[in-house]
């Protein structure tokens, strides 16, 4: 391994490391604009110049120069300092002096580095150039005059997002970063170019001129718009969430988040349930908490447990589901279910509902079969991971289900269960690919499991995993890709039908027939109200979405930014979301509502603090005590072994519109605009006369 000296510190690094990376390892910071550790190396900004000996007597770009044995690198020699100062002066020649009106102000690399490495005055008196702004869609605002041509955005679109829509025209002073046509950037990850852009050329459009970085309170939390559990930072000012940024977690989202995660938060300000409601004479009337609780108590009084049921939805946190489960047990009901879409997994076998290979594990896979899923929409960030693995080469990907563009090349094997059955029987050629692979991976989407033959699909996928050797000592290639942030948490906490209990399907049926008299919809918005017949519906949630309209009592809860809650992502990783702002009006954190109601019902739950509740969760299931860890799940047999019928209908996809999947994003105006632009195809720049 080459040994070199950086600023007098001796260091030994892997061959092929660049000087900049080596310097980072010993804690020497070299300024840079174009270099980014998750993108390819461009070496075009020249900010990272250092003095290298031996070598030509001129500064070298450290981000692009591999280390060699016996090198001496000086990052702060007079030559390096002068070189940087010169580069900075050139960059600033054509950079507008508009920091006071620029949204990047305060978090701008150019601003910071000009302070640290630049000259104190400018010698440039001529006119600066100006560049026409480009249209990149409703999420990214452009002020292209500010662009310093680092090409990070171009490389991101090309490499990570897989949409080669950005490029550059012209050269020298006439270079322009552009998407050539006036069309929106077709990526679910487009918002990340805002974070990548080191200057204010690409900024967050919905957040434009709303806040300055220094007035924001930063709260580290977890995303709930899909089941990946991206790590996020919630920036809030007073009672409002202003924006969401990614937090680096190499095991989950690296440093990307999807556009929905980033931009749907404006939905937190619309359609909010901020006070309890009780239905009187067929009309929902505002009520106090006391009245709401009494209405529930009056209804439940004397009702036997088998007439009560609860369904937990996609945005339900683990704490409240644990509390609700305890309350339902107290009431004598075992009809509880956290799978409002009716997906079929085996709650008793943890491996049957987890993404066992883990997200980071995707990079080790060498063959991949996707069954009934569209990872690009169901887990956009994870899809970027698959693409990353694909770009490394040597990955064969097969797809059964809808043939959608996943930003990488796939073999479309078939659309329905019949193809899966062929694979299980070893009659399909792709079975050989999986068998030949060292680390084969099978991803089963919720679309394939929420059908009537879901258990058979599950069983077939398990059999296939066994047959191709996807499950070994140190590798589990069987994966379920969930779409809901609350699902795995609900399964882990046991929010599933107990003995003699009904599942979602049976609950809805029972309610329609009148066998079930009280249905508790816990953040569950995907159940059409009219299907619940005459049942008394208690809705707990934060948005006046589908569930609230049908409710007889509404208990206003907190959205994910408004409570300290536990979320379990599709890999089974337990993560904590944190309170950034308080719930609006009378709304309360969800578990406290259930705890308070339990007292009115005379079934007081045995915990008074969040810590006690969490202790109880951990006692029930050990995984909740292991935050941000992957606890490998025990492999077992699960699913239905009956072969899939050859003429079963094709796999449908669970998500029809990436931008609107839950009550928050449905309330968001920005997501509505994205729907119009990306889903309805109005992706051309609107002219002034259009609206």
């Amino acid at each position: 391994m080459p040994k070199l000296t950086i600023d007098g510190i001796e260091v030994e690094v892997e061959p092929g490391t660049t000087i900049l990376q080596a310097a980072e390892q010993v804690g020497v910071e070299i300024p840079r604009f174009c270099y980014h550790e998750r993108l390819s190396i461009a070496g075009n900004c020249r900010m990272c110049l250092v003095e290298v000996q031996p070598g030509p007597p001129k500064p070298a770009a450290s981000c692009a120069m591999p280390v060699a044995d016996g090198m001496t690198v000086k990052t702060n020699s007079p030559m390096a300092m002068k070189a940087r100062k010169g580069v900075m002066e050139f960059l600033l020649i054509n950079h507008p002096l508009d920091c006071p009106i620029c949204d990047q102000g305060g978090e701008c690399d150019l601003q910071d580095q000009a302070m640290a490495y630049g000259a104190d005055t400018s010698r440039y008196a001529e006119a600066k150039r100006a560049v026409k702004d480009k249209y990149l869609g409703p999420l990214v605002a452009t002020q292209m005059t500010r662009c310093i041509h680092c090409t990070r955005c171009i490389r991101f679109a090309q490499e990570v997002a897989g949409v080669p829509e950005l490029g550059a025209t012209g050269r020298g002073e006439h270079m322009e970063v552009t998407n050539y046509v006036e069309k929106a950037l077709h990526s679910e990850l487009s918002g990340n170019v805002v974070d990548l852009c080191p200057v204010g050329a690409l900024t967050n459009k919905p957040y434009a001129f709303n806040a300055r970085p220094w007035e924001l309170k930063k709260t580290e939390s977890v995303d709930v718009f899909d089941a990946v559990g991206s790590n996020i930072r919630v920036d809030s000012r007073g009672p409002q969430v202003m924006r969401v940024l990614p937090r680096v977690n190499d095991d989950v989202n690296e440093e990307w988040i999807s556009d929905k995660t980033r931009q749907a938060v404006d939905g937190l300000l619309r359609q909010r349930l901020d006070r309890p409601y009780v239905r009187k004479d067929g009309k929902l009337k505002p009520a106090t908490w006391k009245e709401a609780f009494e209405a529930i108590a009056a209804k439940l009084n004397g009702l036997s447990g088998d007439k009560i049921a609860a369904i937990a939805g996609d945005l339900a946190d683990v704490e409240s589901m644990a509390a609700l489960k305890d309350l339902m047990t107290g009431l004598g009901s075992t009809s509880i279910d956290c799978r409002q879409d009716g997906m079929k997994v085996d709650p008793a076998v943890r491996a049957s509902y987890l993404f066992n290979s883990t997200v980071a594990g995707i990079e080790e896979a060498d063959a991949l079969l996707i069954v009934g899923a569209n990872p690009r929409w169901e887990a956009a960030v994870m899809n970027a991971r698959i693409r990353k693995r694909y770009l490394m080469g040597g990955l064969k990907i097969g797809l059964i289900g809808q043939n959608v563009d996943l930003t990488y090349k796939v073999d479309h094997l078939g659309t329905g269960p019949a193809t899966l059955q062929e694979l299980v029987d070893g009659k399909h050629s792709f079975a050989e690919v999986l068998k030949g692979a060292k680390r084969p991976m099978i991803i089963v989407g919720t679309g394939a499991l929420m059908r009537d033959d879901g258990f058979q699909v599950l069983g077939a996928a398990r059999k296939l995993a066994d047959a191709v050797g996807a499950v070994t000592e140190d590798w589990n290639g069987f994966n379920v890709l969930h779409t809901a942030a609350g699902r795995v948490g609900g399964l882990d906490v046991g929010f599933v039908p107990g003995e003699g209990g009904r599942d979602t399907h049976a609950i809805v049926e029972g309610a329609a027939k009148g066998d079930i008299e009280v249905v508790w919809l816990h953040h569950a918005d995907e159940i059409a109200g009219e299907r619940l017949g005459k049942a008394f519906v208690i809705y707990q949630g934060h948005h006046g979405d589908r569930g609230a309209h049908r409710a007889d009592v509404i208990l206003p809860g907190a959205a994910y930014t408004e409570k300290n809650a536990t979320w379990v992502n599709t890999e089974g990783r337990v993560q904590r979301g944190r309170l950034a702002v308080f719930p609006p009006g009378e709304a309360r954190e969800d578990w406290t509502i259930i705890r308070a109601l339990s007292e009115v019902l005379g079934k007081t739950l045995p915990y008074n603090t969040l810590a006690q509740l969490r202790d109880r969760m951990t006692a029930a299931n050990g995984v909740f005590g292991r935050i941000d860890e992957i606890v490998p799940a025990e492999w077992a047999t699960f699913g239905d072994d009956t072969p899939l019928s050859a003429d079963a209908k094709a796999f449908a996809l669970p998500i029809e519109n990436f931008y609107m999947t839950d009550s928050i994003s449905r309330a968001s105006l920005i997501m509505a605009e994205c729907t119009d632009v990306y889903i309805n195809g109005n992706d051309e720049k609107k002219t002034g006369t259009d609206d």
């Binding site: 000012r237 007073g238 009672p239 409002q240 202003m242 937190l268 300000l269 619309r270 359609q271 909010r272 349930l273 901020d274 006070r275 409601y277 009309k283 929902l284 948005h543 006046g544 609230a548 309209h549 702002v581 609006p584 009006g585």
Partner: protein
Amino acid sequence: MITGTLFTTWLKGEFVGKDQYGNRYFQERKQPKPGRRRKRWVLYNGKIEASKIPPEWHAWLHYTTAEPIKVDEKKPWMKEHLPNLSGTVNAYVPSGDDRRGGKRDKGTGDYEAWTPGS
């Protein structure tokens, strides 16, 4: 209690003028001893309220000017003097106040609450 003031006015006061609101202004009749200046005072028309005095007379009353300022020409930018209206029905309320319709510009943290039927 202005009985004392009325008595002093009768005893020593010299009428100087009257403003448009009917407040009457006086000063001492006699020249004062050297080193002292003539006292100036006002008899309010109605309620005693210092802010009722218009600026012309305010300046005279506080010895800023020797003579009361004569306003003979009203310039378009000159506004009618208003006494302090705090505590009265005419008091100033910002536009977001309920008494002025409760309509204000959007602020941080404003949210739209759901209502049944919306």
